[in-house]
């Protein structure tokens, strides 16, 4: 019974959290956005005292239920492990292995060190799952949606609309693939190995679950020594010979209860002991200043040639925009500043998954690897949207309302004379001016002495909020003639 409750709850959490990454319409977040916010590390980083205390209390009461139900990465491993167990003769494939406590604490130390170096999020469970969901599951979901949109279009229905599917960062995609394959193989072979050796949250909660009130316990008098419990324990934490359980590794999955045909294991209260909950030291990070340079290749520019006869119809080739070389990355509005942002963001990719304008993508810079940064090749940060701040579980991106968003300066626009079509094509163009939501651009005569000369844009840096409308809508390709430089510290203008 307990096991069934655990499974139902776990599936519910897993499906809904996954859907948070898949649902690009934002409807689910209104209802289930809290599921991301009760994840342990995000809550810790958001200094969400209530949630952290609740999770500590939960663990002290019932053991590592968190790992079995709330953590999507844990449930994902259970699913892989379940598939492995479906094979013939593999149902009872586990066996007890002694605890590798030294390894766990070393890994925790490594994790803290990695956090200080800014790459700790590689092994943080929730963000690892976020990367997997947003890089591997979300495209499949989106393709499914696009299939429905294709059908809907032919049925004259507006129920579905197609969305872009693209690899937002090859590096992060590869990391997600490696994490997914690695974890799936580990779980397939030996259950929760990762959770009990590498995962920092597992190690921390393990300290608490040792002292939890409810635990699976042996009734030695009933045990006939069949070892079924140990062979079904995906955490490999039951030592049937000595009738002991390593509660720091037990994830309270209740499988052993159900596997025991003698009823020798029960999930019961322990005798009151001296309770001393040890508090984990919260990991801290520091922003490093190194930059990871992406090499931007230049491709031949195919332009339309004037023809002797101007024929009708056809479409001009549109070259893809290329990412300009920004000295400072543009952080999403509400990220406040580089230090706050890198210290709070867990690179879970939730904001990247939900960004409806294809603006956010995982950074390739070493200083903020995998954390979101903005770029405007495919869209710009639209005034009516604050989806990233709404979904952010750690408050790394925090906005109170749209007004604050539209007044937050995340960068400023820079005009490049050599790219501007007014100069290169000799045509009139004021597309940046017309689309600037902040009124930060005005068109001025190119020659100050000749008011009739062609007009070029001039940016009032004080009014510019860095939304990228100008950069995205600039006709110059592959590099826009007006682009946004990020600011390290955002401010309200």
């Amino acid at each position: 019974m307990l096991r069934k409750i655990r499974i139902v709850a776990a599936v519910l959490f897993f499906v809904l959290i996954t859907l948070l990454f898949l649902d690009f319409t934002g409807t689910l977040h209104a209802w289930f956005g809290w599921m991301a916010k009760i994840q342990f590390l995000p809550a810790l980083l958001a200094v969400n005292v209530g949630v952290v205390l609740a999770l500590v209390a939960l663990t002290l009461l019932f053991g590592r239920v968190y790992c079995s139900v709330i953590c999507p990465l844990g449930v994902m491993q259970d699913i892989a492990s379940w598939f492995a167990g479906r094979r013939k003769k593999h149902r009872y494939r586990f066996s007890y292995s002694p605890a590798l406590t030294w390894l766990r604490w070393t890994m925790l130390a490594v994790f803290v060190a990695a956090m200080l170096a800014g790459v700790g999020w590689l092994i943080a469970p929730y963000s690892a799952y976020g990367r997997i969901a947003s890089n591997l599951f979300a495209p499949i979901y989106a393709w499914g949606n696009n299939g429905l949109a294709w059908v809907a279009e032919r049925m004259d229905s507006y129920a579905f609309y197609p969305v872009d599917v693209w690899i937002k960062s090859l590096g992060v995609f590869l990391i997600a693939v490696v994490t997914f394959v690695g974890l799936a193989v580990l779980a397939w072979r030996s259950g929760r190995t990762w959770c009990n050796t590498v995962c920092p949250v597992g190690t921390l909660l393990g300290v608490l679950s040792r002292r939890s009130l409810f635990k699976p316990r042996f009734d030695v008098s009933k045990c006939n020594g069949c070892k079924l419990c140990a062979r079904s324990c995906k955490a490999s934490c039951i030592d049937p010979a000595n009738h002991t359980i390593d509660y720091s590794r037990c994830v309270a999955c209740m499988d052993c209860l159900e596997s025991c045909r003698q009823g020798a294991i029960t999930y019961t209260r322990r005798q009151p002991e001296r309770a001393s909950a040890s508090r984990a030291e919260s990991p801290r990070t520091d922003a490093s200043r190194r930059r990871f340079f992406g090499v931007v290749g230049l491709f031949a520019y195919t332009a339309l040639r004037a023809q002797e006869k101007k024929v009708d119809g056809g479409l001009a080739v549109i070259e893809e925009k290329k990412v300009p070389n920004r000295a400072v990355p543009i952080l999403p509005p509400g990220a406040q500043n580089t230090r706050h942002f890198t210290a709070h963001c867990t690179s879970c990719q939730l904001c990247v998954s939900v960004c409806p304008n294809q603006v956010l993508r995982p950074s390739g810079r070493l200083s903020m690897l995998m954390k979101p940064e903005m770029s405007y090749e495919r869209g710009y940060c639209r005034p009516e949207c604050a989806r990233c701040a709404e979904v952010c579980p750690t408050d790394a991106i925090r906005l109170t309302d749209f007004a604050e968003k539209s007044a937050t300066q995340v960068g400023h626009a820079v005009w490049i004379a050599d790219n501007c079509v007014v100069n290169t094509d000799g045509v009139n163009c004021d597309n940046c001016f017309r689309h600037c939501p902040a009124g930060a651009i005005r068109m001025v005569p190119r020659d100050p002495d000749d008011p009739k000369s062609p007009r070029i844009p001039a940016v009032n840096e004080e009014r510019c909020i860095g939304c990228g409308a100008c950069e995205n809508l600039c006709p110059s390709r592959p590099f826009s003639a007006i682009y946004v430089e990020g600011h390290q510290r955002q401010r309200i203008i």
């Binding site: 024929v311 009708d312 094509d425």
Partner: protein, 460 residues
């Protein structure tokens, strides 16, 4: 409403890597011509076509003429860049000729310059005396004599004929009016050359097609009156909207037709359907037609209007689909002239249409390709369709605001890829001079873009 067969986003990607300067317009292939659902079912007669006779050459021309600027297109253009589906063209031409249609109108610039070639291939399979072929001097971008004559000779070669039945000075009245006309045809001696070609019999009928400035129209008729150049026919835009309510700087068809009739010059009619807009009327207007003639299409009313004027030689229709061809053949086999009350109904329909803020675009593609990648006709088509379907809400208080907003925005992304939408218009104005309807294209695009922004931001 038909939809396009291709995934536009996919198409964009292909475009992104392709290095071709211009590409296929499989665009809009589903939207040109008339609405498909309007064709009435029934026998398509082969021997009842109404014919008109030209005074100059005594040609017996079918009242339905085939416009060759909207041929069906391939999903991907052929190796030489030709986007036209030749098999489908052959089929349509064979069917048309078998059912009495004998006038085919093309131009060197149509369909990215491939229309003449395809039309020629299809016509070559029929005896030369079974059809009349019309083409044009489209020397818009290069007025020189050499370029103009080369264009004329290329037309003969591409059409695979040694004489042209009808030859037109293409779209006079544009640009700077009479000045542009003189530059294109008088100063370089091209008109003199064409008149001599007519004497030599390589051009059997010489005329011109007209859009725009009335001064040019009057100027050319004055030339006719003075005997400087006798015109065998003139091609004008005429339909029940343009009859009294021509848009932009275009001239009311009532005046144009009247002037031609006075002189006994046959009128060839273009845009009888306004690029299909008169077949895609809103439900209310279609309903009024259906009450009168339940089995006939909305398009048939427009064709009967144009055909009911005796001075009309032939009515051109760019028929992409077999169903449209069949419907139009039925309408003119034989022509049933409009009754006086029916003229009134059509005039009333025109007045109702004018109350809708549609853009008078006929999707002729003359403005394309936009050098900045916009798909101008597709943007206007989407907007017009939404206007007609009531999906252009006035404000958020509209009862159907949410549905209309979704239909407009989702449909917009479906009809036009994001990179080709109105927000990309830079206002360079290069398209304006190409538009035969003299639409202020950038201004209209900005109007639509503002509307889209209001919908997106919820500030309507």
């Amino acid at each position: 409403m038909e939809k396009k067969k291709i995934d536009r986003r996919e198409f964009l990607k292909v475009l992104g890597v392709g290095a071709a300067a211009t590409t296929a317009a499989f665009y809009g292939c589903g939207k040109r011509g008339q609405g498909a659902a309007t064709a009435a079912v029934g026998e398509v007669p082969t021997d009842k076509m109404t014919f008109r006779t030209t005074p100059a050459t005594g040609d017996r021309v079918s009242l339905l003429g085939y416009g060759c600027m909207r041929w069906p297109l391939l999903e991907t253009p052929a190796a030489d860049g030709n986007p036209i589906d030749q098999e489908a063209v052959n089929e349509l031409v064979d069917y048309a000729i078998a059912h009495g249609v004998n006038y085919f109108d093309t131009a060197p610039v149509y369909i990215q310059g491939f229309s003449e070639k395809s039309t020629g291939i299809a016509l070559k399979r029929h005896p030369r005396d079974k059809f009349f072929v019309a083409t044009k001097m489209s020397n818009f971008s290069n007025f020189t004599r050499e370029n103009s004559l080369a264009m004329y000779r290329q037309s003969l070669a591409d059409l695979q004929v040694d004489y042209l039945d009808y030859y037109l000075l293409h779209s006079v009245g544009g640009g700077k009016g009479v000045e542009t006309f003189n530059e294109r045809f008088i100063d370089n001696g091209v008109l003199d050359f064409l008149l001599r070609e007519r004497e030599a019999g390589r051009i059997r009928n010489l005329g011109w097609s007209f859009h725009g400035d009335q001064k040019v129209f009057d100027h050319l008729l004055a030339m006719h009156d003075r005997g400087e150049a006798v015109w065998d026919f003139v091609q004008i835009q005429m339909n029940y909207v343009d009859w009294k309510h021509a848009s932009g700087r275009n001239v009311d068809a009532e005046y144009l037709y009247g002037e031609l009739e006075k002189r006994g010059i046959p009128a060839v009619i273009m845009e009888p359907l306004l690029g299909g807009r008169l077949s895609r009327l809103n439900d209310h207007l279609v309903g009024r037609f259906k009450e009168q003639r339940p089995t006939q299409s909305a398009a048939s009313w427009a064709f009967r209007f144009a055909g009911s004027y005796p001075g009309v030689l032939t009515v051109l229709s760019g028929m992409t689909y077999m169903e449209h061809l069949q419907d139009n053949i039925r309408t003119y086999s034989p022509l049933e002239e409009l009754a006086p009350a029916e003229y009134e109904l059509l005039e009333d329909t025109a007045q109702v249409m004018l109350k809708y803020p549609t853009v008078p675009c006929t999707e002729c593609q003359y403005c394309m390709p936009c050098p900045y990648g916009l798909d101008i006709p597709a943007i206007f088509a989407h907007y017009n369709r939404c206007v007609n379907e009531g999906n252009v809400p006035k404000d958020q208080q509209d009862p159907a605001y949410r549905e209309a907003r979704r239909a407009f925005l989702v449909g917009y992304d479906r009809s036009v890829p994001k990179l080709r939408q109105a927000s990309r218009c830079i206002g360079c104005d290069q398209c304006v001079s190409h538009c035969p309807q003299s639409i202020k294209i950038p201004r209209q695009l900005r109007r639509i873009d503002r509307f889209v922004e209001q919908l997106k931001q919820g500030t309507l």
